[in-house]
Amino acid sequence: MKFCCYISIQTDGGEIVWDFANTRALLGSLTVWTVNFGTSPPTVKNITRIANSTIFNGIAAVPGSTKLILAADSDIGAVWRVNINSGAYSIAFSDPLFANTATGILGINGIRIKGGYLYFTNSAQGIFGRVPIDGEGSKIGAAEVIANVPSGVVYDDFAIDDGGNTWIASHPNEVVEVTPNGNQRIITNTTLLLNPTNSVFGRGNLKERKTLYVTNGGWFVGNDLVNGSVVAIST
């Protein structure tokens, strides 16, 4: 095959190869918007186009700021900072732990910020880690690895619960819970977890805050991708 970087997954329909190399936006097409749900319909504002990146994967607002977000560039292994008030953007920092590999195109993927740390997954390196940042979203210390991906699993985006446990949506049928000290518990479900791509905890009452909503990329049956969906896990 001509593609260098992919992973094959056995499904009901046979072998599917996900080609991460082509999961890219056209250079100059990435656009940052704000969507205010406080109005009906939502008020949408075009903030800026990004001239020199092909992928902003996970994004996260900098806590305490009303204008700064960080964005994971899975291609070049960097974290960008965007000021949504001015539209200014630039690379905030890079790290070897964000880089992709010769066999895996998607490096740093999901990001979340909590307690002065940017937490991240790197799908290519198979790691979950963190790096300390300041109130401007700048790196102020060394990045470190918290967990290495279990065999046969690919980390994607994730959510962090009130206890500091991280719940990583993982391919092909997993959500991996990582405790603050790096212990992992694997939830596998081959009917309701179908290439999980992302997760978020609910908001509102206690039941919602304990509910993990997971997006499923979906699963091939024949040539069709089916069951792209949202499921809820009671944690």
Binding site: C4, C5, Y6, I7, S8, G13, G14, D19, N22, T23, R24, L26, S29, T31, W33, T34, V35, N36, F37, G38, P42, F56, N57, G58, I59, A61, T66, I69, A71, V82, T103, P150, S151, G152, V153, D157, P172, Q184, R185, I186, I187, T188, L192, T197, V200, G202, R203, E208, Y213, T215, N216, G218, F220, L225, G228, S229, V230, V231, I233, S234
Partner: protein, 119 residues
């Protein structure tokens, strides 16, 4: 070239000592076929915001509804679909879109173009 047969890897999980965990899981909403669902956020009113790079649309879902359904909250005039979503101030979310080359999958040894975006 890196190929990993995941079915074989499942057996390894147990022997590696990673604990397995069983929790209740229920379906909230299933999208039409060929919708690669990729991103999710939640509003302060507990409604979910869901996006797929397959379509340039933000959906909202009330997960507490008896039969949750996806409503179109906004369709972007350009690009092929939202990637990241994050809340910046109360009920205001930052969203990134981009014109994807394609989401390409190889089925057996045939190239399957699930969604090809010429733009």
């Amino acid at each position: 070239m890196f190929r990993l047969t995941l079915l074989a890897a499942f057996a390894l999980q147990v022997t590696l000592g990673d604990a397995t965990k069983v929790l209740p899981i229920r379906n909230i909403f299933t999208f039409p076929i060929n919708t690669f669902v990729e991103n999710i956020a939640v509003r302060s009113n507990s409604h979910l915001i869901v996006a797929s790079p397959s379509v340039p649309t933000l959906f909202t879902i009330d997960p507490s509804a008896p039969s949750p359904d996806a409503s179109v909250a906004h369709t972007f005039p350009e690009g092929t679909g939202p990637w990241g979503i994050t809340e910046i101030t109360s009920d205001k979310f930052v969203v990134v879109t981009g014109s994807m080359f394609s989401l390409v999958y190889l089925f057996y040894d045939e190239v399957l173009l699930l969604h090809k975006y010429p733009n």
